[in-house]
């Protein structure tokens, strides 16, 4: 454990990931937002987790599919022979 480490807010684990995944019920979502508004530790961590999620997505979705592959997929369609 590092010296700079702060105590963990137990709510974080429970709320942040499903909140970011939009998997909370309406009541849970309101609870999460209420908690994030009042807990400095969690709101800081929420901002970090949200930007990390976006950054991972950006890094991993850069490579576009080649036009050749796209054409190949279209050519796999069943020919209309009748």
């Amino acid at each position: 454990m590092t010296a700079s480490f702060e105590p963990i807010c137990e709510k974080c684990e429970e709320l942040i990931q499903p909140y970011l995944d939009r998997e909370l019920s309406e009541a849970e979502r309101l609870e999460a937002e209420g908690h994030l508004a009042g807990c400095g530790y969690c709101s800081e961590r929420y901002r970090f987790e949200a930007s990390l999620r976006q950054y991972v997505r950006q890094a991993c979705c850069q490579e576009e599919m080649s036009p050749e592959l796209k054409a190949k997929l279209a050519s796999l369609r069943t020919p209309l022979d009748d």
């Binding site: 454990m1 590092t2 700079s4 480490f5 702060e6 963990i8 974080c12 684990e13 990931q17 499903p18 995944d21 939009r22 998997e23 800081e44 961590r45 901002r47 970090f48 949200a50 930007s51 990390l52 999620r53 950054y55 991972v56 997505r57 950006q58 890094a59 991993c60 979705c61 850069q62 490579e63 576009e64 599919m65 080649s66 592959l69 796209k70 190949k72 997929l73 279209a74 796999l76 369609r77 069943t78 209309l80 009748d82």
Partner: protein, 193 residues
């Protein structure tokens, strides 16, 4: 005569449904490719996997029920083919205890070059290191992350695609994200030194 007409009509309807199905499936190709690209390690493998997925989807179009989730149906074919082809290289998950909780990546990045806004701190990671870190997450965990974080599937959809209970998707996501962050923290330390 009437029978022949009925049969002709049936064939025409079937052809029309098939064409519509194929067009809808092709419209999802970019999304399928993005997921495939992160499930396997190379571009070539991803291209093969996507082609096989489409060949199978076109062949088995009758097993798709119109009106149900086509994206999830396609992803299920993709993930099953990926398993069948034995492309996945299993690696035992790193069982190190995460005594710093889920916040260790943030702490590590902050330590490397001082505090910054939470939104900016991730920019200390190179995009290559993110791609590599994700690739090194063991496949069961990575599949869940790729489907939910890159494919935008819900927990329920990911559970159907992977054919596991929803609780398993949630625990794999939780564990997988921790492993990913652990890899990223290591990469951050490596880049620093």
């Amino acid at each position: 005569m009437a029978e022949a007409e009925t049969e002709a009509r049936r064939l025409a309807t079937e052809a029309r449904d098939r064409v519509r199905f194929e067009e809808e499936v092709l419209a999802l190709a970019d999304q399928v490719y993005r997921v495939a690209r992160r499930l396997v390690s190379s571009r070539e493998e991803a291209e093969d996997l996507v082609q096989e997925t489409y060949a199978r989807a076109f062949r088995s179009w009758r097993s798709y029920t119109p009106g149900t989730n086509l994206r999830a149906w396609l992803m299920r074919i993709l993930t099953n083919l990926n398993i069948d082809r034995g492309r996945r290289q299993q690696r035992a998950p790193d069982m190190q205890p995460m005594e710093e909780g889920d916040y260790f990546l943030y702490n590590r990045l902050e330590e490397t070059s001082g505090p910054a806004a939470e939104e900016r701190i991730v920019e200390r990671l190179s995009q290559d290191s993110i791609v590599e870190a994700l690739a090194s997450v063991p496949h069961d965990f990575r599949d869940a992350i790729v489907l939910v974080d890159i494919g935008d599937f819900s927990y329920q959809e990911a559970a159907q695609i992977l054919d596991v209970p929803i609780g398993t998707v949630m625990s794999r996501l939780h564990r997988g994200r921790r492993i990913l962050k652990g890899e990223l923290a290591e990469a951050a330390v490596g880049e620093e030194s």
